[in-house]
Every structure is written in structure tokens, then in C-alpha cells.
């Protein structure tokens, strides 16, 4: 065996690693014949011994207790932050919740309005009743659940002075077939745009709907981010609720 062939084995043997019996025997025979390799082997054994001594001298070395304290603190802070994040709704969720609350409140108001409307219809004479139920339809409102429909709503919102046919406090039935173009000329009221009360995709697309005139507390304006003056905060506001085919409130607009 030549010296350079032995070098690969010398390291393993000197480090006390397992070496195949045959390789060990061959290396042993080479060491007997080659003084240079024997010296190198001895030197490497000495290094291994020195490293073991040095490693033993460090065996009990550990980080100072302050490290564990700092890590425990960091862990608690992190756990606290995570728990807080789990409990506190995120801003987006918060907005969704407030909209749901508004939607539920609006639905409750709607029920009352429907009952009042039914009583009002009952109290009318037959001829007037016919007239009231044949109210001209207001422009059809697209479902806020669809993007293009939301844009349509927003477009209407930009047209702040759009007039609507809402002389009556009673509910009016809308449908797709009646279309947007119908009766826009008949309207004579000023209203804001419709503000969606539900997020896109949360409800089925609006197939047909109904607009109901209601009175709502002014706080509803605040929840939608609309300005409210100090004088008007206690006054109820007139609003139109857009109800979908499922009877749930989809959007709301306000009248002065």
C-alpha cells in the first residue's frame, strides 16, 4: 500500500471510527514499514486525544440563565399576540360583522314596515287598493353580490341626484323583466346611492327585489361611514331598503 492510499484510512483510524478489518490490517502493515506515516498517525491520534480533552472541558458549558428567561418571555409575548389575533376580529371581518348587524336590523325594520303596509292596504277602499298595488316600478337594482352589479350600484351612487319613484311608503316589487329603463322619468325624489349591506358572494344573485321605505336611526349612517351632524344624530332618517327575492336586505339608500 502506498502512503497516499493510506492517508484516507489514517484519519478514520485516528478519529476512532470503525474501519473494515481488512483495511485496518493493511494499514497496520503499512505503519510498520513507513515511519513517516506512523508519525502522521501518531500525530492525528494525539489531535483526537486533545480534542476529546477540550470537548470534555466544555461539556458542562451552557448558556447563561438569562437566555432561557429571555426566550420564555419571547414565547409568552408571541403566544399572547397569537391569542389576541384569534380573539379580535380582523378589520375586514369587523366590517363584515357590522354589515351583517345592519342587515339584520334592516330586515327587522322591513318586517314592521311590511306589516304596516298590509294594514294600510286593508284600510283602503277597493278602487284605491287597485291603484296602490299598480304602482309604477322603480328602476331595477342589480344584486350587489355581483361585481358588475356592484359597479352599477356605484354608478347610480355617483348620480346622487337621480330621481326615484317613491311617492309611496308601501313596498314595490321589482324584477329583471321590468328593467332599468322603466319609469325613470316618473321619479321626483333625491336619494343617495344604494349602499350594499352584504359582501359580494355572500348571497345568491339578485333575481328580483323589492324596495321598502323605512325610517332608520341616524346611527346607521355612521356605521356606513356617512356624515351625520350633531343636530341630526337623534333624528330618524328616511331610507329605502332593497330586499332580494329571499326577503333579505341587500342594500340601502337614504333620502334627505
Amino acid at each position: 500500500m502506498k502512503c497516499h492510499e493510506f492517508e484516507a484510512t489514517i484519519m478514520s483510524m485516528a478519529r476512532g471510527q470503525l474501519v473494515e478489518a481488512a483495511a485496518r490490517d493493511t494499514a497496520g502493515a503499512h505503519l510498520d514499514r513507513c515511519a513517516r506515516c506512523a508519525d502522521a498517525f501518531e500525530e492525528q491520534q494525539a489531535i483526537t486525544a486533545g480534542i476529546r480533552v477540550a470537548a470534555e472541558s466544555l461539556a458542562n458549558q451552557e448558556p447563561s440563565p438569562r437566555v432561557e428567561e429571555a426566550l420564555r418571555r419571547a414565547f409568552r409575548e408571541r403566544a399572547g399576540r397569537l391569542a389576541e389575533r384569534r380573539i379580535t376580529p380582523q378589520p375586514a371581518e369587523n366590517g363584515r360583522w357590522s354589515r351583517r348587524v345592519i342587515g339584520a336590523a334592516a330586515a327587522a325594520i322591513l318586517l314592521l314596515a311590511l306589516l304596516a303596509g298590509a294594514d294600510w292596504l286593508k284600510s283602503l277602499p277597493a278602487s284605491q287598493k287597485q291603484e296602490a298595488t299598480n304602482l309604477p316600478a322603480t328602476p331595477s337594482i342589480s344584486a350587489p353580490g355581483r361585481k358588475q352589479d356592484s359597479q352599477a350600484l356605484a354608478g347610480r351612487g355617483r348620480d346622487q341626484n337621480r330621481k326615484t319613484a317613491s311617492n309611496s311608503a308601501g313596498p314595490r316589487r321589482l324584477s329583471k323583466s321590468q328593467g332599468v329603463r322603466q319609469n325613470v322619468e316618473n321619479v321626483n325624489e333625491v336619494a343617495t346611492r344604494f349602499y350594499p349591506l352584504v359582501d359580494e358572494g355572500e348571497m345568491a344573485p339578485l333575481e328580483s327585489g323589492m324596495i321598502v321605505r323605512v325610517e332608520a336611526p341616524a346611527s346607521i349612517l355612521i356605521s356606513l361611514g356617512l356624515p351625520v351632524t350633531a343636530e341630526s344624530i337623534n333624528r330618524p332618517v328616511q331610507a329605502d331598503l332593497l330586499l332580494g327575492q329571499d326577503g333579505l336586505a341587500r342594500a340601502i339608500r337614504f333620502l334627505p
Binding site: A49, E62, V67
Partner: protein, 203 residues
């Protein structure tokens, strides 16, 4: 029954502090000693240990046991932290550079002359070896620390250092040759060859 590393990692991700402490106590010594041998400074080793476990805390969910043992993962983080510290102190570093590696030095078997039963001699040997290791270039030092001091296999060291087993083997051979030369030279490896940080820590 002792919980496995995987179980502890899962518990840590769920926010169980005791799991984190158990894992810390299981590996803190080895991570600290690795950092100490690499930096030569207990304060730096403290900082590195803290950073390693903070990183584990941050990324506990990202550790994938199928890609290697947790200790290897921790050594990998510790190594990066130590190299960052060494790089920061580089302007003052006079550790064994490339030109120094091939300089011939007189043969003298200092270590084999030490009496293993003599505590003083042992301390001297331990100190000489540690200083010789500290004087190695970082890429050789880390291999010696992992394979010889921490007794990792070549494959584990290769995982921790993100290189091939062949690289580990050749670096270890080279590192040990350098160590032999420095230890032969005896008193030649002294505080003068250490960087500012290490000198401060040795005082």
C-alpha cells in the same frame, strides 16, 4: 416517556411553553458549545443560542423532520448566526488565512506529551486545542467543531453546513492537518492571532 422532537415542535406551534422549554433544554448545550467553539466568546455564544431558539420559535411550523434531524437544523441556524458575527468582526480578524495554511512549521508533539491524569496539563491541552481550533479558517473550524467536538457523522455535518459529504471529508482532513501544524508550533497560537472579540473573551 420522553416526547420526540416532532411532538414538541407540534406543541410549540400550539403555544405550549413547557414544550419549548423542554426542547430548549435538550439542545441548548450543544448549540451553545458550537457557538462558543466557533466564536471563542461566551457572550457571543449566548447571543447566538438565543437567536437560534428565537428563530425556531418563529419558524417552528416550517421545520420539516423529513429533511433532517432537528439538531442539524439548529446547527444550520447557529452557523449562519456565528458567521454573521465573524463577518461583522472581520476587520479585526487575523485568523488563519489561506497564505498561512501552507507555511512549514517545526514538528513537535505537544499534545502527546501531556499527562492525561494531570489536571493542569489537561487544561493546558484543552486550552491549546481550543485556541488552535479558533485560529482555523471558519470553513475548516465548523467542520472540526461538528465532526470532532460534537461527534456528528459526515452526512449530518453535510446537512448542517449545506454541502456534500465529500466536502466535509476533505475539509476535515485539511483542518486536522492545520491543527497538527499549529499544535506542533506550540506557543505560536496565542491571543495575538485572535480577533478583537475573541481576545476580549479570553481575558
Amino acid at each position: 416517556m420522553t416526547p420526540s422532537d416532532d411532538e414538541l415542535i407540534r406543541l410549540i406551534a400550539s403555544g405550549v411553553e413547557e414544550a419549548f422549554v423542554t426542547l430548549y433544554r435538550r439542545y441548548q448545550g450543544r448549540v451553545f458549545r458550537f457557538a462558543l467553539l466557533m466564536s471563542g466568546c461566551p457572550a457571543t455564544a449566548d447571543d447566538v443560542t438565543q437567536e437560534v431558539f428565537l428563530a425556531l420559535l418563529r419558524d417552528a411550523c416550517q421545520y420539516d423532520s423529513s429533511r433532517g434531524a432537528l439538531l442539524t437544523y439548529l446547527y444550520g441556524i447557529a452557523r449562519k448566526q456565528v458567521l454573521r458575527v465573524l463577518k461583522r468582526n472581520r476587520p479585526f480578524t487575523q485568523l488563519g488565512d489561506e497564505a498561512d495554511e501552507d507555511k512549514p512549521e517545526p514538528t513537535r508533539h505537544l499534545i502527546s506529551q501531556a499527562d492525561p491524569l494531570n489536571e493542569i496539563a489537561r487544561n493546558e491541552v484543552a486550552g491549546a486545542v481550543r485556541q488552535a481550533v479558533l485560529a482555523l479558517p471558519a470553513r475548516y473550524r465548523e467542520v472540526v467543531v461538528l465532526c470532532d467536538f460534537q461527534e456528528m457523522s459526515y452526512a449530518e455535518a453535510a446537512d448542517a453546513l449545506d454541502c456534500s459529504v465529500g466536502t466535509i471529508s476533505s475539509r476535515l482532513n485539511r483542518a486536522r492537518a492545520l491543527l497538527a501544524r499549529r499544535l506542533r508550533a506550540g506557543g505560536r497560537v496565542g491571543p495575538a492571532s485572535l480577533d478583537t472579540d475573541q481576545r476580549r473573551c479570553l481575558v
